[in-house]
C-alpha cells in the first residue's frame, strides 16, 4: 500500500524532471508528512522500495536492500529526483527510529551524492535533506564539524542559483550559531548575505532566527518586525504549531522588552501553555518585582527549555520602569523613599538613579528634586497634539499596504489563453487544488 504510494510519487517526480515544474515535487514532499508514521514503523516498506530501485548497487544501503536479491532490478538509470527522494525517506526512517549513528554516516554518503547532481528540480528535496543532516548533528551534539560543510554548500547553491537550498542552509547555519551562542558569527553572516526568495516555510524560519538574533543584540524594534513577519508568514497548519508557539513566545518577550504589553487574547488560546509568559507579563504590567521574581523562580526550567531565559532576565529593568511609570501617573509628587518601598528597591539612592535613567529614556515625564527628595511628574500632554498618533497610523497603513502587495505577488493567475487552460490535465488540477489547501508544512521539530 505505502509502497505503491511511494511508487506513484516516483511518477510525479519523473513528471517534474521532464517538465521542470517544481510544483510536482512540492506535492510529493507534502505527502511525506502522512507517510512518515507508517514508514518509520515498518522497515519493510523501505526495504522493498530500495531493493526494487537499486538492487545491490549502493553498498551503504545494504541494510535495507538485502531481503530479496533474486528480484529483478530495473537497470534503467535512476533519475536524480527519485534517487534523492529515497535518501530523504531513509533519513527520516533513521531519525524516527533514533538510529543517529547510522544516520550520521549515511548523511556523508548523501552529501557526496548531492555534490554530483546539479538540477534545479532537485532544489526542494535537497533543502529538506540538508535540514535533516543538520538536525542529526544537533541530536548527536556535534555542531561545529558541520559548519564548513554548510558554508561550502551555501556557496555552491548560491552559484547554482539554487534558492531553496541556499535559504535552507542559511537558516541552518543561523540555528547552528544560535545553539552554540556564537551570536557574533550569526550577525556577521546575516550582514553579508542576501537571503534569496524561497519557499515560505524556510523564509519564516529565517525571520524567526533574525528576530532572535536582533533581540539578543538589543535591536528590539527590528526584532519585533521580523518576529511579526515570521508569525504572519508561518503556515497555519497543525504541523507548524510548534513553530508558531515558539515564535509567539519570542514575540511576547520582545514586546515586553520594547515596553509594550501584549494583548491578553494571545495568552488565551487553549492549545498552548503560555502560563509562564502570562505571569511575567502580569509582573511587567503591574511593575511588580515580587511577582516577577516569583515567576522566574517557578518557571525557570520552562524558560531554559525555550532558550529564552536570558531575554526574560532582561525584563527586570522593564518591571521597574513600568512601576515607576505607574507611580508617576498616579502621583503628581511623591518622595523617593515611598517609591523605594513601593518597588522593593535596595536604597533611596539607587531609586534616584533608576528614576533619572527613566526620565532620560523618556519613560516618564518628570523631574527630581534632590534637596527635598521627591519626584514631581509633569502634566500629562494631550497625546493628539503630538505627532505620535500620526506616525502610529502611518506604520499601520504601511503594514497593510505591504500585506496587500505580498498577497498580490504570491497569487497565481489563471492563464487567459483558453488553449492553455484546456491543456491543464487532471493531474494539474489536483496539484493546484492541493496547493490551494495550504502552503508547505512547517516541519518544525
Amino acid at each position: 500500500m505505502e509502497v505503491k504510494e511511494i511508487e506513484s510519487s516516483f511518477e510525479l517526480l519523473a513528471k517534474a524532471s521532464n517538465t521542470f515544474d517544481n510544483r510536482y515535487i512540492s506535492k510529493v514532499l507534502r505527502g511525506v508528512g502522512t507517510l512518515r508514521k507508517k514508514l518509520s514503523q515498518d522497515k519493510s516498506i523501505l526495504e522493498s522500495i530500495i531493493s526494487k530501485v537499486y538492487g545491490t548497487s549502493r553498498p551503504y544501503l545494504n541494510q535495507f536492500g538485502l531481503i530479496n536479491e533474486s528480484m529483478d532490478v530495473d537497470k534503467d538509470e535512476i533519475s536524480p529526483e527519485v534517487d534523492l527522494y529515497i535518501h530523504l525517506l531513509v533519513q527520516i526512517y533513521y531519525l524516527d527510529n533514533k538510529q543517529y549513528d547510522e544516520l550520521n554516516s549515511f548523511n556523508d554518503e548523501v552529501i557526496k551524492l548531492m555534490q554530483v547532481y546539479n538540477r534545479r528540480t532537485l532544489d526542494l528535496i535537497q533543502a529538506k535533506i540538508w535540514f535533516y543532516i543538520s538536525r542529526t548533528k544537533e541530536l548527536i551534539d556535534d555542531l561545529l564539524t558541520i559548519r564548513p560543510v554548510l558554508t561550502t554548500f551555501l556557496k555552491i547553491s548560491s552559484l547554482r542559483h539554487d534558492n531553496e537550498t541556499m535559504g535552507c542552509i542559511i537558516t541552518l547555519l543561523l540555528r547552528n550559531y544560535i545553539l552554540t551562542k556564537d551570536i557574533n558569527q550569526a550577525i556577521n553572516l546575516i550582514e553579508k548575505i542576501q537571503f534569496p526568495e524561497c519557499s515560505n516555510s524556510v523564509s519564516c524560519r529565517y525571520y524567526y532566527y533574525l528576530a532572535k538574533i536582533h533581540a539578543i543584540q538589543l535591536n528590539y524594534s527590528i526584532a519585533n518586525e521580523y518576529c511579526i513577519t515570521a508569525i504572519r508568514k508561518s503556515p497555519q497548519t497543525k504541523l507548524s504549531l510548534g513553530f508558531l508557539q515558539s515564535a509567539t513566545k519570542l514575540n511576547i518577550i520582545i514586546e515586553l522588552l520594547m515596553g509594550d504589553i501584549p494583548e491578553l487574547k494571545i495568552f488565551k488560546t487553549n492549545q498552548w501553555n503560555f502560563e509562564p509568559y502570562l505571569m511575567v507579563t502580569k509582573a511587567v504590567k503591574n511593575g511588580d518585582l515580587k511577582l516577577f521574581d516569583h515567576a522566574i523562580k517557578t518557571y525557570r526550567t520552562d524558560f531554559i527549555n525555550d532558550d529564552n531565559l536570558s531575554l526574560i532576565l532582561r525584563l527586570h529593568q522593564n518591571v521597574i520602569k513600568t512601576g515607576i511609570r505607574l507611580i508617576s501617573l498616579s502621583y503628581s509628587k511623591i518622595s523617593l523613599k515611598d517609591i523605594c518601598i513601593k518597588l522593593n528597591l535596595d536604597s533611596e539612592q539607587s531609586t534616584e538613579y533608576i528614576i533619572a535613567k527613566s526620565i532620560r529614556d523618556n519613560v516618564i515625564e518628570a523631574s527630581i528634586n534632590n534637596e527635598k527628595g521627591f519626584m514631581k511628574s509633569k502634566e500629562l500632554l494631550d497625546i493628539y497634539s503630538t505627532k505620535l498618533p500620526q506616525s502610529e497610523f502611518d506604520s499601520r497603513i504601511n503594514f497593510c499596504l505591504e500585506l496587500y502587495n505580498d498577497l498580490v505577488k504570491s497569487m497565481r493567475y489563471p492563464s487567459e489563453n483558453l488553449k492553455v487552460n484546456e491543456e491543464i490535465d487532471d493531474d494539474e488540477l489536483e496539484l493546484i487544488k492541493a496547493l490551494q489547501d495550504g502552503d508547505l508544512d512547517g516541519l518544525m521539530d
Binding site: 561545529l144 564539524t145 559548519r147 564548513p148 558554508t151 561550502t152 556557496k155 555552491i156 548560491s158 552559484l159 552554540t180 556564537d182 557574533n184 558569527q185 556577521n188 553572516l189 550582514e191 553579508k192 548575505i193 542576501q194 487567459e416 489563453n417 483558453l418 488553449k419
Partner: protein, 940 residues
C-alpha cells in the same frame, strides 16, 4: 576541529612582526572559505596590507581578499584581486572558487579584447591574457578544438583561430574542413562586429586556398557571397573551369541563388574582361550563362510549370462568393490568383473569367495587369511577348499600361539585365512630365518595375532616373520612385543617397512620398547593422510619424536575422511607447525581421503584445509571427495566432489569417492537422455575409498564400545551403507589409516565394529523367487533395453502398486513382511524369486505414520520386540520391535546389525533360539547348 572564529588570526594582523603577519595570512587562507563572513569585517586591513609595497606576502593578502569578495558575491572585485595575487592564484587547483573566477576572467578578457579591437588604447592585463591562454591550451590538450575556436573567435583573437586551423590542416584535413565550416557558422551567427567578420572571412579564404589537395570550393563560394568579393570569385572560377568545370557550375548556381545581382554582374564583367578567359569555349560560355541567372530561372519555372497542382476550385468558389464590383474584393481575388499561380505561367483563370476581369477599374486594373507579372515570374524568354498587348504603345488604359510595366519588372525580378534598359527609357522619356494623371499612373508602374528588376544592382544611372521622377513631386509616382530608389540601392548603405532621400522627405508635403522614401531608406540600410545606427537614431527622433515608421523599418532591415538585443530592445520600446499607432504596429512587426534566425523565440516575445488593448499592436504581433516563422510550421506561433483569428477588430483578423497561412504554407493535414481546420476557417470567413470586408480580404489573400505557386513554393528567409539571408525574400516581405497603405504592393510577396524543388542537372545543363529515394511515408509530403476530388469521393461512396465492404473499398480505391490521374488533364498540358503519383497512392490508402496519427520518421524502404519534383523543406532530410547513374558533385550539400550531377554512365541513353524555354522554341530543332540563350545575351 573546526575553528569557531577567525578573530585570533585577524588580531595577529595588527602585529608589527612580518613573520607573524605571514603566519596569520597563511592561516586565514586556510579558513577563509568557512569564516569569510567574519574576515570580511577586516577587509580594509587586508587591503592595506596588500597596498604596502614593502610587505613580501602582499600577493597572498590579495588572494584572501579575492576569496572574501568571491564569497560575498562581488565577482568583479574578486577577479580584480585574483589578478593582483599573481602566482598565488593557482589555475590548476580544483575548486569552485578557481573555476568560477577563471570563467569570470575569460568573460572579462573577451569583453576587453572586443573593445581593444575597436580602440587600441585599451591595455589588457598581462595576467589576464595569461589565464586566457592557459585555458585555451587546456582545451587544446583535450582536443576540444571547437571550444577553443569558439572562445578565441568571441575574444577576437584571429591569430589563434588561424593557428589552430593551420595546425589542423597539416595533420587532419577532414577535421580541418569541418572546423572551418564551424568557424564560418559561428562568424555568421555570433559575431556582430562587421570589421572583424570581414577579417575572419578573408583569413578563412586564405587558409582554404592554402590547402593543396582538394580544397572545398563550396565553402569558398559561401564566403564569397558574404564578402561580396567579385574579383576573388572571378579568379577562382577561372582556375576551376579548367580543372573541375562541374564544381564551377555548381558554385555558379549557388552564387546565383544567394548572391546579389551586383556581385554576379561584376563577376561576369571580370571574367569577360580577362584576356585569358576564353568565352568562346563551351565551358566558359556556359559558366557565364549560368551566372546570368537565366538557367536558374528557366529551371525553376520549368519545375513550377510541370508540377503545377493548383486547386482552381477554391479560387473559383471565392470569386463567386465575393462581389466583383467592389474593388477591394476584386483586388483580393486578383492577388490570390497571382499568388496561387506565382511562377507557373498558368494565367488561365484570367482568360476564363474575362467578364469578371472587365469589372476592374482604375487601380484594381493596375493590380490585375501586374498579377500577370507574378504569374509569369522568371519567364525571362517569353515575358515580354506576353505583356506586349498591355505595354505603353498599346490601346489600353493608363492603369493597364502602368500595371504591365510593374509586371515586366516582376517577371525579371532580380534578373533585370534584359529589361532595365526598356524601363529606364520609359522613365527618361516621361520622368519630367509626372503630374499629369495618366503619365503618373504609368510612371508609378515603371518605377516599381525598375525597382524590382534592378534590385540590388547599385545602378547609378537608374537611380538618377528615379530621382528625376521623385523631384517632380507628384504623390503617385513619387511614392513609387522613393521605394524603387531604395530597391535599386538595396543594402548598399550609400550615404549620399540616404542624405538625398532624407532631405527630400523633409521638404515634400506629400505623405505618400515621405512613406515611399522612408521605406526606401530602410531598404538602403539592409544588413548594415550598426553602420545604420546613426540614421536609425536620426529617423526615430523625427517629429513626423511616417519618418519614425521608416526608422523602425530601418532597424528591422539593418538588423534582419541578427537577433541583436539592442535592436529588439529599441523595437519593443517603440512598440509600447510611441504615440502613433502606425509606428507601434510597425515596430512589433519588425521584431519578426530581427528574429528571422531565432524564430522559435518570437512567439514568446510577442505573446504579451498579442494581448495588447491596441489592435494595431495585435496586428503587428500577428505579422511578426508570420514573418519570422514563415514556412516553419511552429506550433507555438500558431497558438498565439489562434485567438487573434477571432479578434473583435477586423484588420487584426486579417493579419492573423495572413500570418497563419504564411506559417502553414505547403503543409498538408498529415504534417499538421490544423491545416484542414484553418482552410475551413478561411472559406467560412469568405462565405459569411456579416464578416467585415477587411477580414474577407485577408482570408482571400491567405488562400492564395497557403497554396502559393501551385503549392510548390515556400517562404524561406534564409538560404538553406549557404546559411546566408535570402535578401530577395526579406525585401519582398518588407514591402508586402506596406500593402496596408497601398494594395498593389501586395504583389511584392511573390518575391518571397522560393520554389521547393529538387532539380538534378547534368553537365550540359540538361535535366535527366531518373528517380530519387525518399525515406519516409509519402503521405507527409503529398499535395493536399483538391476540393473537387473530395466532392467526387463523397458521391462515389454513396453509389456503391449496396455492395459488400470489400468491394466498396476496392471501388473507392480505384475511383481515387482515376481521379488523381485525371486531374492533370484538367490543366492545359498533360505531363507524363505524373505517373509517379499512381503507384504509392495505393499503399497510402492502406496505411491511412491502419493508423491516422503517426509521426514523421525515417523508414528504410523508400519510395521514389522523379527528378524535378517537389521536395518540401522538412522532406530534405529523408531524400537520398540513388547511387546508380547520377551522383551529385557536392555530397555535403543539402538535397534541394539545383544540383549538378555527374553521369557515371555517359554512354547510356539519356532521357531529358525539356525546360519551358526549350518548349517555347520547339519549331526549330535545337542541337545545343543553350546557344539560344547565349544569343539573347548578346542582344544586351
Amino acid at each position: 576541529m573546526a575553528l569557531v572564529s577567525a578573530a585570533p588570526y585577524l588580531a595577529l594582523l595588527n602585529e608589527h612582526d612580518t613573520s607573524l603577519k605571514k603566519y596569520a595570512l597563511n592561516s586565514l587562507n586556510d579558513i577563509v572559505d568557512e569564516l569569510w563572513s567574519e574576515i570580511a569585517n577586516n577587509i580594509d586591513q587586508l587591503e592595506e596590507l596588500y597596498e604596502d609595497d614593502s610587505f613580501e606576502n602582499r600577493k597572498l593578502a590579495a588572494l584572501i581578499i579575492s576569496k572574501v569578495y568571491y564569497n560575498l558575491g562581488d565577482f568583479e572585485a574578486s577577479v580584480k584581486y585574483s589578478l593582483l595575487s599573481g602566482d598565488e592564484f593557482n589555475i590548476e587547483e580544483q575548486s569552485q572558487y578557481i573555476e568560477t573566477i577563471v570563467s569570470k576572467c575569460i568573460d572579462l578578457y573577451t569583453n576587453l579584447s572586443q573593445q581593444k579591437f575597436q580602440d587600441d588604447s585599451i591595455v589588457i592585463d598581462k595576467q589576464l591574457s595569461e589565464i586566457f591562454e592557459k585555458m585555451l591550451k587546456k582545451c587544446f590538450d583535450l582536443k576540444d578544438y571547437k571550444l577553443a575556436l569558439g572562445i578565441s573567435l568571441e575574444s577576437f583573437r584571429l591569430d589563434i583561430v588561424e593557428k589552430i586551423l593551420n595546425l589542423q590542416i597539416e595533420t587532419n584535413i577532414d577535421q580541418a574542413l569541418s572546423l572551418i565550416n564551424y568557424v564560418l557558422v559561428c562568424t555568421n551567427t555570433v559575431i556582430s562586429n562587421f570589421n572583424f567578420k570581414t577579417k575572419v572571412l578573408n583569413s578563412l579564404i586564405d587558409i582554404l586556398l592554402t590547402i593543396k589537395t582538394n580544397p572545398d570550393f563550396f565553402i569558398i563560394f559561401k564566403i564569397i557571397v558574404q564578402l561580396n568579393e567579385s574579383q576573388l570569385a572571378g579568379k577562382i572560377f577561372k582556375e576551376l573551369i579548367k580543372s573541375e568545370p562541374l564544381i564551377a557550375y555548381q558554385g555558379a548556381f549557388d552564387l546565383v541563388n544567394s548572391g546579389s545581382q551586383e556581385l554576379l554582374e561584376n563577376i561576369i564583367k571580370y571574367l569577360k574582361d580577362d584576356k585569358e578567359f576564353d568565352d568562346e569555349s563551351s565551358e566558359e560560355s556556359k559558366l557565364i550563362n549560368i551566372l546570368t541567372g537565366v538557367p536558374t530561372c528557366d529551371l525553376n519555372i520549368t519545375f513550377l510549370y510541370k508540377n503545377n497542382h493548383t486547386d482552381i476550385t477554391i479560387l473559383n468558389k471565392t470569386k463567386n462568393l465575393l462581389e466583383g464590383r467592389s474593388s477591394i474584393f476584386h483586388s483580393a481575388v486578383t492577388f490570390a490568383n497571382a499568388f496561387i499561380h506565382a511562377g507557373t505561367t498558368d494565367d488561365s483563370f484570367f482568360r476564363k473569367n474575362l467578364e469578371w476581369l472587365g469589372k476592374a477599374t482604375n487601380w484594381s486594373k493596375f493590380s490585375a495587369t501586374a498579377a500577370l507579372g507574378v504569374i509569369h515570374k522568371g519567364n525571362l524568354s517569353q515575358g515580354r511577348n506576353i505583356l506586349k498587348p498591355y505595354l505603353p504603345g498599346s490601346s489600353g488604359s493608363a492603369h493597364t499600361k502602368g500595371g504591365s510595366l510593374f509586371a515586366l519588372g516582376l517577371i525579371f525580378a532580380g534578373h533585370g539585365r534584359e529589361t532595365i534598359d526598356y524601363l529606364k527609357k520609359f522613365l527618361d522619356d516621361n520622368g519630367s512630365s509626372a503630374g499629369s494623371n495618366d503619365t503618373d499612373v504609368m510612371l508609378h508602374g515603371a518605377c516599381l518595375g525598375c525597382g524590382v528588376a534592378g534590385m540590388a544592382t547599385n545602378n547609378e544611372s537608374l537611380y538618377e532616373a528615379l530621382k528625376v521622377v521623385l523631384y517632380s513631386d507628384s504623390a503617385i509616382s513619387g511614392q513609387a520612385a522613393g521605394l524603387a530608389m531604395g530597391l535599386v540601392m538595396l543594402g548598399s548603405g550609400n550615404e549620399q543617397a540616404i542624405e538625398d532621400m532624407l532631405t527630400y522627405a523633409e521638404e515634400t508635403q506629400h505623405e505618400n512620398i515621405i512613406r515611399g522614401l522612408a521605406i526606401g531608406i530602410a531598404l538602403l540600410n539592409f544588413g548594415q547593422e550598426y553602420k545604420a545606427d546613426k540614421y536609425i537614431d536620426d529617423l526615430l527622433k523625427k517629429e513626423s510619424s511616417i519618418l519614425r515608421y521608416g526608422g523602425v523599418f530601418t532597424i528591422a532591415l539593418a538588423y534582419a536575422g541578427t537577433g541583436n538585443n539592442q535592436a529588439i530592445k529599441k523595437l519593443l520600446h517603440y512598440a509600447v511607447s510611441d504615440p502613433s499607432d502606425d509606428v507601434r504596429r510597425a515596430s512589433v512587426m519588425c521584431l519578426g525581421f530581427v528574429l528571422i534566425r531565432d524564430y522559435t523565440s518570437t512567439p514568446k516575445i510577442v505573446e504579451l503584445l498579442s494581448q495588447s488593448h491596441n489592435p494595431h499592436v495585435r496586428y503587428g504581433s500577428a505579422m511578426a509571427l508570420g514573418i519570422s516563422c514563415g514556412g516553419k510550421n511552429l506550433a507555438s506561433a500558431l497558438d498565439v495566432l489562434q485567438p487573434l483569428t477571432s479578434d473583435p477588430v477586423d484588420f487584426v483578423r486579417q493579419g492573423a489569417l495572413m500570418a497563419s497561412s504564411m506559417i502553414l504554407i505547403q503543409q498538408n493535414e498529415h504534417v499538421n492537422p490544423k491545416v484542414k481546420e484553418f482552410n475551413k476557417k478561411l472559406s467560412d470567413t469568405i462565405k459569411n455575409k456579416h464578416e467585415d470586408a477587411l477580414a474577407k480580404f485577408g482570408a482571400t489573400l491567405s488562400q492564395g498564400i497557403i497554396d502559393a505557386g501551385g503549392r510548390n513554393v515556400t517562404i524561406t528567409l534564409e538560404n538553406p545551403n549557404t546559411n546566408t539571408l535570402n535578401m530577395k525574400s526579406i525585401v519582398g516581405l518588407a514591402v508586402f507589409v506596406q500593402s496596408w497603405y497601398w494594395f498593389p504592393l501586395s504583389h511584392f510577396l511573390s518575391l518571397s516565394f522560393t520554389p521547393t524543388a529538387i532539380i538534378g542537372i547534368t553537365k550540359d545543363l540538361k535535366i535527366p529523367k531518373f528517380e530519387i529515394n525518399c525515406h519516409a511515408k509519402e503521405k507527409f509530403f503529398e499535395y493536399p487533395k483538391s476540393e473537387e476530388i473530395k466532392e467526387n469521393k463523397k458521391e462515389g461512396v454513396t453509389a456503391v453502398l449496396s455492395t459488400t465492404v470489400k468491394a466498396r473499398a476496392r471501388a473507392r480505391k480505384r475511383k481515387d486513382d482515376m481521379d488523381i490521374d485525371e486531374k492533370p488533364e484538367v490543366k492545359e498540358e498533360k505531363v507524363d511524369d505524373k505517373d509517379s503519383d499512381k503507384e504509392p497512392e495505393k499503399e497510402d490508402d492502406k496505411e491511412e486505414e491502419k493508423e491516422k496519427e503517426e509521426p514523421l520518421k525515417y523508414c528504410k524502404t523508400p519510395y521514389k520520386i522523379e527528378n524535378l519534383s517537389r521536395v518540401v523543406p522538412w522532406q530534405t532530410n529523408y531524400i537520398s540520391l540513388t547511387k546508380e547513374r547520377f551522383v551529385p558533385i557536392n555530397k555535403s550539400r543539402g538535397n534541394s535546389g539545383i544540383i549538378i550531377l555527374e553521369d557515371t554512365k555517359p554512354k547510356e541513353k539519356l532521357e531529358v525533360i525539356k525546360t519551358v524555354r526549350q518548349l517555347n522554341v520547339t519549331e526549330a530543332p535545337i542541337p545545343q539547348p543553350f546557344t539560344l540563350s547565349g544569343d539573347d545575351l548578346k542582344d544586351e
